[in-house]
Symmetry: C2
Subunit: 228 residues, 2 copies
């Protein structure tokens, strides 16, 4: 027998994060807060989509936003102008958020105003790989795939598409220029990874499709809050 213990650091970190994520989800459920984890590649339109989502739902739901970034406050400044509670999370070079980091963000929002919101949105770090590996404690995972990125991304970043409840296909106004992108093929590729994922084409710039996305979110928040 070896005279030392071998600790699988990665394994234990993952296992511990899963426990923390479940604990956080339980707390959010009790407080009636639906937490949406929004993921995507850099530049696929997370912040613009968030602005449209706030416009569509702010009249009926109380909303708070956590903007995660490695560096810079560009997005938090934009969101702060939209009239909802917002906070910037700097990850210090980290490529993803885990449940512990998410809890720190929620605690910081609560320190400013202790009233729980109906909808908290976490804008994750722009990355199709690492964020998919960490449960943030969210009630649902959403991702944005933009048309210019190509319809083959579900084949190349399988885990991201597997963990998402909904995939927004953004920048559909660019379809005439990116004419190799096929909406049928992207739906097939997503279904291949995750048959349960909802696919919603949108254009955050023009607002097209945002009503369908807002309705999806509205229903999910209502179900979460009703405890069903």
């Amino acid at each position: 027998m070896a005279d030392f213990r071998v600790i699988e650091v990665k394994q234990s970190v993952f296992a511990d994060n899963d426990r923390k994520a479940d604990e956080l989800r339980g707390r959010l459920k009790r407080e009636g807060t639906f937490l949406l984890n929004l993921m995507s590649s850099p530049g696929s339109g997370k912040t613009t989509t968030l602005l449209r989502t706030i416009e569509a739902l702010a009249g009926e739901l109380s909303i708070a936003v956590m903007e995660a970034d490695i560096d810079s406050d560009v997005d938090a400044r934009t969101i702060a102008g939209a009239g909802v509670r917002s906070i910037q999370l700097h990850t210090g070079g980290m490529c993803h958020l885990d449940a512990y980091m998410t809890e720190q963000g929620l605690d910081a929002l609560r320190a400013e105003d202790p009233t729980p919101v109906d909808l908290a949105i976490l804008e994750n770090v722009g990355n199709l790989v690492c964020p998919a590996e960490f449960d943030t404690g969210a009630s649902a995972n959403a991702m944005i795939l933009s048309v210019p990125e190509g319809d083959d991304k579900p084949l190349k970043y399988p885990l991201m598409f597997s963990v998402c409840d909904v995939v927004l296909i953004n920048k559909i106004d660019a379809l005439p220029i990116f004419d190799t992108f096929s909406m049928d093929r992207v739906r097939e590729n997503i279904a291949c990874r995750n048959p349960a994922a909802q696919v919603i084409p949108i254009c955050a710039k023009t607002g097209e499709g945002i009503d369908v996305w807002a309705e999806w979110l509205r229903e999910r928040v209502a179900t979460w809050k009703s405890g069903a």
Copy 2:
């Protein structure tokens, strides 16, 4: 059957990647092989740019390509059709390549044909965060930022822009649709992170600007091989 090999690369557990990278760079220098590490977000056009680069330089340089992907052989299949030596590296879920993984790829290429190539290109995993943290042993780092991603990316992913010798601004044919993208502003933002970085606007789809990029690479390869 596929006409390229798939290598399951394993990340080294040792924390001496920098030493390994320097060792690999020394070996490549002795062999007269220039190694280009090509990085970008998912879907910014790495593979199409690679095809154009091969078209522009294959007549004068011997070229080999290592396609890194978490999963799928989509890109290796495309490159295999371009008539250069190519190999698929599967990272097994890893979000980046390090010098050990790169060496495994180079060794696998050499096992097929022991003649050193003039130019080896590593297409890294689509990710603006993690690949920037690991020296692969490359002679130069290049990255592609595509117009639809936005001109603020150097502010949000600072390390990536800091480590690159050249930034290709791709999909410039989409500038009329993505009219908030300013070429002046992106140059300023890149200079902010890395005043030495060369910025080259291209359109891999139409071939625009590829001559400037090919000339940059041609000069770098020649300098490397001359030992200067």
